[in-house]
């Protein structure tokens, strides 16, 4: 078991609506998001993103001050933002093990 450390996030640009996880978060660990706090349902690795605020379905997701894609469903503040709720506006994302041409 890795030692539980204090949650740490990086906001790369002031306009961003996602934060980057800078220290691993354990399942069940509580971490602050804005004025509220969230309990992690599963471990979150460094480099993954969480929503800095609620992001409605169809809204743009902003990182580096730039649009990195659109929310495919409503995302709650503090929720992990990844392939299950964010899609590229340009190209599909391919995951290991998926057959050629199938997109997520």
């Amino acid at each position: 078991m890795p030692a539980v450390v204090a949650p740490r996030f990086i906001r790369i640009h002031r306009d961003d609506n996602v934060l980057t996880v800078a220290a691993p978060i354990a399942a069940g660990q509580t971490y602050p998001v804005g004025d509220t706090s969230v309990v992690a349902g599963e471990p979150i690795a460094v480099g993954f993103k969480i929503a800095a605020e609620a992001i409605p379905a169809g809204a743009k997701v902003i990182k580096y001050g730039a649009v990195i894609g659109s929310a495919t469903r409503d995302i709650a503040a503090g929720e992990v933002v990844h392939t299950h709720n964010l899609k590229s506006d340009y190209l599909p994302t391919y995951l290991r093990g998926e057959s050629e041409g199938k997109t997520v």
Binding site: I12, A22, G47
Partner: protein
């Protein structure tokens, strides 16, 4: 303040190198084994192997080999041909000899086969190594350096730590008059408007956007982009997200021009290298005739070197271990955990930014100091470990428009 003295190797065209390598180049895959056997016993003595596998001639490949064999880091060249391949070997030999470098050509079919060609080649290389001992040296200033950057094995830390830190080093180098090159147009999809706004001239901005559009069409036609499965496992979700992270290593300088592989930037500044082939169909659409624009990071490093890069800054999150033939590769590790696992393969630990131990600015300065030390002769981690990777496959490029380069 740069207090390191670089003692360059002076070449006949006035350019200076930071290494003095003997290149052995095979001109078709069928000559690869013989060339490799010539190099192998001398691989730690500054003898590097490169070549082109294809049997049919290709002007891009010819240009790449010409630019690599006459790169300022190269002191002498031995070409190895099977004999029946289509490569214009006499033309390439003539182009290399015109620079005054010792150069020779062995044709296996006319040299008695494998063993005798290896023996002849080994003898020639031993003699060339002696001959280049007397290469003239001359002090080299930072404004004579060409530095490339590339990322490979990216994860979400790449765009947070190593890439912005390289951006800081690039900003400083450009301010000092160096020529800096970034690339991976396929990984800039989604940030083309931000990039166009940084163009030194409005018409260049339109060409920058067109470059990325071409990459988007090409990758779409291929079925998918440079987004590898490992990227998503590392926390990156979309091409645009990866693009912004990749783009951050170009820094904040104005963009002076666009290059295709083999174009040497004419003056100090920041340049975008377009690595995606120009393969236009009759209706003007892009058709991916040559397959993936680059089969791996290795070919892109080779293309940066063909543009004259004396060294390459390679940022990695998941932990690439590669180096390159001809020009040193400085590896900047973005992820502190990867650094701990692969520290012997890394030159800079930018992951300390993530752990709150240092800042992007400080790592940028560290990279700048390391560039100067490596240019002065200090070996990089990949050089110490004997990495001399090289890869080259078919492509084609249209000539650059006049708007792409600054007037020199």
């Amino acid at each position: 303040m740069n207090d390191v003295t670089i003692n360059g190797y002076l070449r006949s065209d006035g350019r200076k190198g930071i290494r003095n390598i003997v290149v052995v180049a095979y001109l078709v895959e069928c000559a690869h084994h013989v060339a490799r056997e010539i190099v192998y016993p001398l691989r730690s003595k500054g003898v590097h192997l490169l070549g082109f596998p294809g049997c049919y001639p290709n002007s891009y490949a010819h240009r790449m080999l010409r630019q690599l064999c006459t790169h300022p880091n190269v002191g002498a060249v031995l070409l190895v041909s099977l004999g029946c391949e289509g490569f214009n070997r006499a033309g390439l030999l003539e182009e290399i000899r015109a620079t005054g470098r010792p150069a020779d050509l062995l044709i296996i079919q006319q040299s008695g086969g494998t063993r005798r060609t290896i023996e002849s080649g080994a003898g020639w290389v031993a003699s060339a190594l002696n001959q280049i001992q007397t290469t003239l040296r001359a002090p080299m200033e930072v404004d004579e350096l060409i530095v490339g950057t590339i990322c490979g094995g990216s994860d979400a830390t790449s765009g947070i730590t190593a890439n912005p830190a390289v951006g800081r080093a690039f900003d400083r180098l450009v301010a000092e008059g160096a020529r800096c090159i970034f690339e991976e147009t396929g990984e800039l999809i989604g940030c083309e408007q931000i990039m166009a706004a940084r163009a030194a001239r409005p018409e260049l901005g339109r060409s920058l956007t067109a470059c990325v559009d071409k990459a988007a069409h090409y990758y779409t036609a291929m079925g998918h982009g440079s987004f590898a499965p490992g990227n998503a496992e590392g926390g990156l979700t979309t091409q645009e997200e990866k693009s912004m992270g990749a783009y951050s290593k170009s820094g904040n300088s104005r963009i002076s021009g666009i290059l295709t592989p083999g174009d040497v930037p004419p003056k100090g500044g920041l340049y975008l290298l377009d690595v995606v082939p120009d393969t236009f169909a009759a209706d003007g659409s892009v058709s991916p005739r040559w397959g993936f624009p680059n089969i791996s990071d290795i070919q892109e490093i080779g293309e940066l070197i063909a543009c004259g890069a004396h060294l390459t800054l390679f940022t990695t999150g998941r932990g690439s271990v590669v180096g390159s033939a001809i020009s040193p590769v400085i590896k900047i590790c973005a992820n502190p955990e990867t650094f701990r696992r692969l520290s012997e393969d890394m030159d800079v630990n930018a992951g300390r930014i993530l752990e709150g131990e240092t800042t992007i600015d400080e790592v940028g300065d560290e990279i700048h100091r390391l560039i100067m030390r490596v240019a002065a002769g200090a070996p990089t981690a990949s050089e110490e470990l004997g990495h001399q990777e090289f890869s080259l496959v078919y492509k084609s490029f249209a000539p650059l428009g006049p708007e792409c380069l600054p007037s020199s």
